[in-house]
């Protein structure tokens, strides 16, 4: 009998808890894998100060765009490139006037921190010392697409292409280099900074490197449009910008592309 009462009490408490949670919104954010660490920090602080809950779905932007297209429930899309965002905009899947370019980043070549290959320029990737190169899938995942476009521009792609090990997202490419099963990889500078198992062998110079831009937008079918807008505003605020900068991102002025 006592157990039954206890169970009943627990059920009532859970119901109450659920009611309390309903007063706060659950905002679902689909964000590029490279944003993992900074968004977790920003979301954690935001949840504490507002009571809204931020649910992060972190994956390759191309995968996220596919999920949105297939009707996944989400409020915000935070892509690692404008192309994925543009595709959704063209299909009318974004809430009008909510798209902003937020961040920029830099590509780097990474090798394993211990016993990594000797690489000092992209040209070395075409040489015999590099047998396998990890990239985010260069057919669709932004980090890989940026890398491919850059290598095409400097005429190295044909020589490097057969060595490419395409990975699910940029963090998977980072992990492959850290694990030592590929000789090098191309990732964002911000990814390289969070891993102790890799070191940066070369960094794309600001002028000649690809123009990397991370846009945000509210989705047209957002279940929580108001709370979504509030979180978008927060992403453009100074406290959020400070976190982005801490992780090595370049914060853009939030212009409309």
């Amino acid at each position: 009998m006592a157990t039954l009462l206890l169970a009943l009490a627990a059920a009532v408490a859970a119901w109450g808890g659920e009611q309390a949670a309903k007063r706060h919104a659950r905002v679902i954010v689909f964000a590029a894998a490279s944003l993992t660490d900074c968004l977790k920090e920003i979301a954690g602080r935001y949840e504490q100060s507002t009571g809204d809950q931020i649910i992060l779905n972190l994956a390759a932007s191309s995968t996220l765009a596919m999920q949105v297209r297939a009707g996944a429930r989400a409020d915000i899309f935070f892509s690692a490139d404008e192309a994925r965002m543009q595709a959704l905009e063209d299909e009318g899947l974004l809430a009008k006037g909510t798209r902003r370019s937020r961040l920029s980043n830099t590509l780097v070549i990474v090798v394993a921190a211990e016993g990594g290959a000797e690489v000092s320029s992209p040209g070395d990737l075409a040489g015999p010392r590099i047998k396998r190169l990890a990239l985010a899938d260069p057919r669709a995942v932004p980090a890989g697409v940026y890398a491919r476009e850059y290598l095409e521009r400097v005429k190295l792609w044909p020589a490097i292409r057969p060595k490419v090990v395409p990975m699910e997202n940029v963090r998977a490419a980072l992990a492959a280099v850290g694990g030592g099963d590929v000789d090098a990889g191309i990732v964002y500078k911000t990814d390289a900074a969070i891993s102790r198992r890799v070191r940066i062998a070369w960094e794309a110079p600001r002028q000649e490197g690809p123009r990397i831009s991370y846009p945000t937008a509210l989705l047209a079918d957002a279940p929580q449009p108001q709370a979504g807008r509030r979180f978008l505003d927060h992403l453009g605020s100074e406290p959020a910008a400070a976190v982005f900068r801490k992780f090595g991102f370049v914060v853009l002025d939030g212009s409309v592309p």
Binding site: S62, M66, D137, G179, G180
Partner: protein, 222 residues
């Protein structure tokens, strides 16, 4: 159907065949041991062999990745000793397929071996045949159909393997991409018509493998 797709089919079938070949001697040995009455540690071996059947395939993939990585305990040794790289190469595909198809084969082969009437084996022994001769001339021929069916089942399983392969061999077009992995990446890339074409192809292949397996298991031969 493009030339590329046929190549993919051919590659997948070859990998599955190689994986089955790699698995076969080990699987047969295990099945034979497990068909023996009772010995110490049998239950443990039994459980370990069946594990890849119930573990999420990615977990098996993770274990293989850590073991056979260039810096892993086995991978390091293969790399230094033989110059073999495993992870992210076709060898990893074969390895993953072999491990994932092992439990299915062992189950089928063990059942077939247990069916063999011990009287015949005993008879051969009394006529002076050694254990090897008994195995090769009595036990294996009598269990032949079950073993063949198990082999086809293992081959079919290998054709469809996804999780472990993806983790340990990756998705390198023309080098490690198998049919299921290609279907997955076609979906990811939004190439629905290609995904459907490849799905049809693998359904056809799976149908053939199962059909052959059933046929081999059933047909009584003198």
């Amino acid at each position: 159907m493009r030339a590329e797709d046929w190549q993919l089919l051919w590659f997948s079938a070859r990998m599955a065949a190689l994986g089955t070949c790699l698995m076969l001697p080990i699987g047969l040995g295990l099945a034979w041991c497990l068909a023996r009455p009772r010995w110490r540690g049998k239950a443990v071996v039994e459980t370990l062999v069946s594990l890849p059947l119930v573990l999420p395939p990615v977990v098996t993939g993770l274990l293989l990745l850590r073991l056979f990585s260039r810096r892993g305990p086995l991978g390091h040794w293969l790399y230094q000793g033989l110059g073999w790289e495993v992870v992210f190469t076709w060898r990893a595909v074969v390895l993953a397929l072999a491990v994932m198809s092992l439990p299915l084969f062992v189950r089928a082969a063990r059942a077939a071996l247990e069916e063999v009437n011990p009287l015949f084996e005993q008879l051969a022994r009394t006529l002076g045949a050694g254990e090897w001769r008994v195995l090769l001339t009595i036990t294996l021929p009598l269990a032949r159909r079950g073993i063949l069916a198990g082999t086809m089942l293992a081959f079919g399983r290998a054709l469809g393997e996804f999780g472990a392969t993806m983790v340990v061999a990756g998705n390198i077009p023309g080098q490690t991409t198998t049919l299921p992995v290609a279907i997955y990446s076609s979906i990811e890339l939004g190439l629905d018509s290609r995904a459907w074409a490849l799905a049809g192809l693998s359904a056809g292949l799976a149908f053939l493998a199962i059909w052959a397996s059933e046929r081999l298991a059933r047909r009584p031969r003198a």
